[in-house]
Symmetry: C2
Subunit: 449 residues, 2 copies
């Protein structure tokens, strides 16, 4: 929605509400497209949202809840009366409904579940974590038997009248519900009506097990250009289907989390302006304090070399320059390596290859930076000794930073920690203390301090 149009719609809604014309406000919202309804709705304050939601068509309310951030939905759902919530949840896609029920107090979730028309559609989905294939899949899908003909399958489709995108790929199962093929609507429409599905379907169907990570689902669907991915249990029984629209959201959310973590913060988990100052602060202070404590090591190193520093105060002039450059080189490396891991360009087994790659890149960068640093030092009237020290130190620090930046994300992955913990700020902090140590050690040797 254009910001200008959004603002004008919001104005209309607010004006209606100021005149206590709730029906008017409801009508304005219901005239919009589902995604736009959610956008307008998100801008209203909490009390208005809670007042409006039960008044809207439950179908529209369901669409709106499916579009909002999980945390917001949980707050709204908790505040709504159970009766109203049941009417709305009945209209939601099973996977979204399961997410919602998993995020509200358990007793309320039980009450809502008991009141639903099709609780058995949602119940199995509640067992799986949100970020697994089982949490992402919908249980609303059409499984066809392999002996059916194309005409029978189309007839089943007409009777079932599915709303979802799941219709474009239909999965074929055997007598005990095991996945044995995939057929798309296009093939079905084009086939001779009497052909059995077994002859139309593609038996080579790509699937995931229910516990697979959501990033794995996204990677498979992106790699094989799939619109739907079947989810099976360990006996190959078909449990549900992950659709491409969910995966697009996963890709966006995962990239957002990675970028926030690479900036040295915990992911916010909701959109920025909706995050309170306290929330943003809480997500950042932990890393900031931890990095502060680690960075304190620089003070320890400096105090250790206090004598050298007093003998040549000029050494201090280059401290921020050297450790800053090291941190920058480390950041460059680590962000490249972490993204390469995330999109599957490199894996754990490529650790040595990556290290060797970065050592050579570090050597080239180090030579370039050493030249720049030597000239800069001379231009500050440094002695040739000091200039040589600075040049040699910056080269060593850059190579060291590149090696560290290549190895640490892979080490984290090996230890089953998210590699984004090795963020830019973590890299600069680690390189700062070690870089100082390198610098003063070289100074002691070269300048005979």
């Amino acid at each position: 929605m254009e910001p200008r149009i959004l603002d004008s719609v919001l104005d209309q809604v607010r004006r209606a509400l100021e005149q206590d014309d709730v029906t008017g406000a409801v009508n304005i919202i219901e005239a919009l497209r589902p995604s736009d309804q959610a956008e307008v709705f998100a801008e209203l304050d909490d009390a208005t949202q809670i007042a409006l939601l039960p008044r809207l068509d439950p179908d529209d309310s369901a669409d709106i809840l499916e579009k909002l951030d999980d945390e917001e939905v949980a707050e709204l759902a908790t505040a709504l009366p159970s009766e109203a919530l049941i009417r709305i949840v009945d209209e939601m896609e099973p996977d979204e409904a399961a997410d919602l029920l998993g995020d509200i107090p358990q007793d309320k979730a039980q009450r809502v579940l008991a009141g639903l028309e099709d609780p058995e559609e949602i119940h199995p989905l509640l067992l799986h974590p949100d970020d697994s294939a089982g949490g992402l899949m919908t249980s609303e899908f059409l499984a066809l038997r392999r002996r059916m003909t194309a005409a029978e399958a189309l007839e089943a489709l007409r009777v079932w009248k599915p709303e979802a995108e799941t219709i474009y790929y239909m999965f074929v199962v055997d007598a005990v519900g095991r996945l044995c093929g995939v057929v798309d609507l296009r093939q079905l429409v084009m086939a001779d009506p009497g052909t059995p599905l077994a002859d139309i379907m593609d038996p080579d169907v790509i699937s995931v097990t229910v516990g697979a990570d959501q990033e794995e689902c996204a990677r498979l669907m992106s790699h094989y250009d799939l619109l739907a991915l079947p989810v099976i249990d360990h006996d190959r029984r078909l449990l549900g289907v992950v659709t491409i629209d969910d995966v697009v959201d996963v890709l966006e959310d995962e990239a957002t989390e990675d970028i926030q973590r690479l900036g040295g913060s915990q992911p916010l988990g909701r959109s920025y302006l909706e995050s309170s100052v306290w929330l943003v602060m809480r997500k950042r202070i932990g890393w900031l304090l931890l990095l502060f404590l680690t960075e304190s090591l620089t003070g320890t190193v400096l105090r250790h070399f206090e004598q050298e520093l007093e003998a040549a105060v000029a050494l201090a002039f280059f401290v921020p320059l050297l450790i800053g450059t090291g941190g920058n080189a480390g950041s460059q490396t680590t962000s490249t390596i972490i993204r390469a891991l995330a999109v599957g360009d490199i894996e754990l087994k490529d650790a040595l290859k990556s290290l060797w790659h970065e050592l050579r890149v570090g050597l080239l960068l180090g030579l370039g930076m050493a030249t720049a640093a030597y000239l800069r030092a001379l231009s500050w009237n440094s002695t040739p000794d000091l200039a040589a020290t600075v040049a040699l130190a910056i080269m060593t620090i850059v190579i060291w930073a590149n090696a560290l930046g290549a190895v640490l994300p892979l080490l984290a992955t090996r230890l089953r920690i998210d590699p984004t913990v090795v963020s830019g700020p973590v890299m600069s902090t680690l390189v700062d203390a070690t870089g100082l140590f390198i610098y003063f050690t070289i100074a002691r040797l070269l300048m005979g301090l």
Copy 2:
């Protein structure tokens, strides 16, 4: 493909090639799924690739080229004889073919274009930049007339036998080719055969103009959960269709570029291990040198305060700690703001709101860090004067870094520069020099140096 399976397939292919059994190697590759063919193919060396490509079924070669990185495709296509290339390009999707022709020498592209079966399918696509809706769209789509019935539309489909995913959404145009509605295959299958499309179609169709940025396409398709997005010219005439599989790739590539830029490097534009050491170095050295020159300002500030530094060498111990913390706070802010801009959570008009948000977050973080810094300074036996200086300095620096981190990405956007230029490394570098100035100014005032 499982790495283990990939390795074993590669072994087989290489063994066949060692025995000069090219046909054997070709057969092994052709037995794989299209995406897996590309994965195996990408691991072979350039000479083998060029030898194998003309021997594979042109249909498979086309699929492989569509899956490889653009740079790699350009190299291969340039090396292949024109005859072989024409056979392959004939089988490619028009949008991918246009991308390829745009990346190879112009005279060769002209020769290939002249030899194609349907050059007019590709010709209009060559006019649009790769990263616009026009560059992303395919011209292979079915436009239906509004007076057609559902049965006639299905018949048209059977005759046309499209291969692409574009079939799931069909767009309806009026007599002069202007987009007037969308109908999906599901609706068509379910409708009474005699119903005219005008009665089935949804006239409220979301579209983009041909010059729209690819990120805008991705945002619309993700926001409205679309599988296909029609591309129109300024007279609303339908020119092509962007499909969801292209957008999934755009989302991944854009996130990769953003993450690499946020790490302070230019995007590599190809996968990591395929990037030569020279390429990686060239993408990084520019920023590293520029940041080095900017970071030199820290030396200028330190030399300006040389007198204070000599009077109290202990001041130097806190330098990395203070500027490191400032850089980290700035990185946290800037990565959050840049991602919020990229996914559309905030816009230019929210500049003041974001600044106000970050000033308050900075105040809270600053108070926390000041407490930590005060205690740390006392634990290093600093005088109360020095401890107070350090605490006040760290608070000021954190607030300053947050404000800068909030404003600079928005300022860049305002100046039509990609906001990711304000990467973590840029933030730390900017905060370093200004942070030192803040620190020594406070020291001069508080400690009376």
